[in-house]
Symmetry: C2
Subunit: 365 residues, 2 copies
Amino acid sequence: MKGHGGDIFDAGERLGIPAEELLDFSSNVNSLGPPAQAREILANSLQVVTRYPDIESRKLRRHLSDNLGVPPDRILAGNGSTELIYLLARRFAPRRATTFPPCYLDYWRASELAGAEVTGYVSTDEENFALAESALEMGSETADLVWLCNPNNPSGTLIDRDRIGAAAKTHPDVIFVVDEAFMEFVPDCKERSLIGTPEPNVIVLRSLTKFFALAGLRLGFLCADPEVVRHLASVREPWTVNGLAQAVGEHLYDDQDYISRTRAVVAEEREFLMRELTALGGLHPFPSHANFLLIRLDAPGLTSAGVKRQLLHQRILIRDACNFRGLDSRFFRVAVRVREDNVRLIEALRQALIPAEGQAASGAA
Amino acid sequence: MKGHGGDIFDAGERLGIPAEELLDFSSNVNSLGPPAQAREILANSLQVVTRYPDIESRKLRRHLSDNLGVPPDRILAGNGSTELIYLLARRFAPRRATTFPPCYLDYWRASELAGAEVTGYVSTDEENFALAESALEMGSETADLVWLCNPNNPSGTLIDRDRIGAAAKTHPDVIFVVDEAFMEFVPDCKERSLIGTPEPNVIVLRSLTKFFALAGLRLGFLCADPEVVRHLASVREPWTVNGLAQAVGEHLYDDQDYISRTRAVVAEEREFLMRELTALGGLHPFPSHANFLLIRLDAPGLTSAGVKRQLLHQRILIRDACNFRGLDSRFFRVAVRVREDNVRLIEALRQALIPAEGQAASGAA
């Protein structure tokens, strides 16, 4: 399966080096690594991996409930939120689905695999990828299921939750799936999230693998009406969530200091990257509320694929964003990592931009 | 989701004790635990859990290929073989499916969820649950997809692979899915397995979590025609196999001594259990080729649910097999574990059988 970009294994194979040797700016995983509790559980995981996982993820759901203020019967855990995206598409089997590109590719794919006709209402770089009122209204009117991502991947834009709530109220027969995979990175996420919304036609997706740096473990969940949760649980395959993801997941919110430290580092480093990237010239990073930046190349003669290739020689992997609907070969996305990594990225980009300027200058001559 | 039995979390909650304190005879996981390589990887898993898994499980497939003699393009890895069972049912979407109960419940459930009409050709205890020629022939004639389990769970019976091969040849338009989840426990499994069969309508499922004691990690794979593998890979969700399962999976066949030791222990302990259980009186264990025994209670007045309840007081969990189609409240299943555990089981069963004899005697009086 291709199209997900940010594939260190693919890049490693092509370069003939171990994937571990790449500095990965292509995947949006917390570069602080997982919290201490998670590390400890992993180091002592023998019993957990030997026995079957709890099909119902009971302890995990209780932990999430205690920390997020959502009752356990409104929570369904998944093998990453990706499992839940495909499960939702299959079970609601919409005839028409709406997405708002540029956005995560799997909304489109999951909907199409489930037999839906998918329409994309594209946001543009001229508007900083803000979601237009007319797009939200038209997209809600014409579909049975609407996919929203908040904050949005790859643009980092945040949608006011009241706008989504209002649309859901106006269209009670439409399912609104709000993917909050990166919401935990937003400092005032409690006030921004729809996780506690009572609207029965709103389903909120959360990933636990980005913020808590556990992409390899696969863990996500959804919050929805208890009726919806019961139905989904009754029609999906057993044991999708592995035991280690559960065991680690049961302690993810124990360390509140890790959570606030992560948010602070991301905010500070995102600002640092914005400033430094802008200062390089030839790059336009868009304002973001998440732990990544979408960047437009404004240097003539350069493409995102070319820049990606150049950075790979320095063992840095970025996400070529040209295959996102609504974007083109000028766009790429980088994660916000720790300072040392970010400095390496900026230096590498500086190198990558030099020939373009030379070329542009000679072209203008 | 209920019906899978052997749920230590459920049993633990009901007893009000931690699940870890139960001696689990209900799940068929190798009681020697995972091999040393797996333990080491788990203890040093930080990098593996932080990054995304390889969507294509490349290294894992190469490792399986090297050790099982199947080309990598015939292998598709899954989040346990259960993911693959549901994926196969969905993608082949049979109008009619055949199962041979008593068998793993999810063939039936996955087929029904995919819209199939399912027929079960029941094998009986009088025939030691041997698969009748007429059942295989009728089941193949009337279905688009046939589910076989070899050796069969819960009966432990082994089907001659040539019988399956012949049926597949006779019915080239029917898909034969052969679940070999427990095949690795069979000493001459290379000669028994259909893993290398060239028949394009045969798909072989393998679990890596039973033999290698990794039920909590979730890992399985299927072997099929490269065309089938490519199609399945192109329509399923990304990242179903977690990174730790991959990393551990890439070394599962490194230690051949562990593999032969496991087979030897299982053979010896299965024989020990057969002998001791038979000697108890009131129990009829059926001959098995796998790491579990199906047992019929021949003690009047006792039910599998009652025996399960009594054993739980001694913190031993067995699998009440009454909810398998073709079985009834006289049947339960136990894993073959290490000697110390097996001795505890026999003693507990001895206790559980005493009142029944007393009761039967007084009933006869």
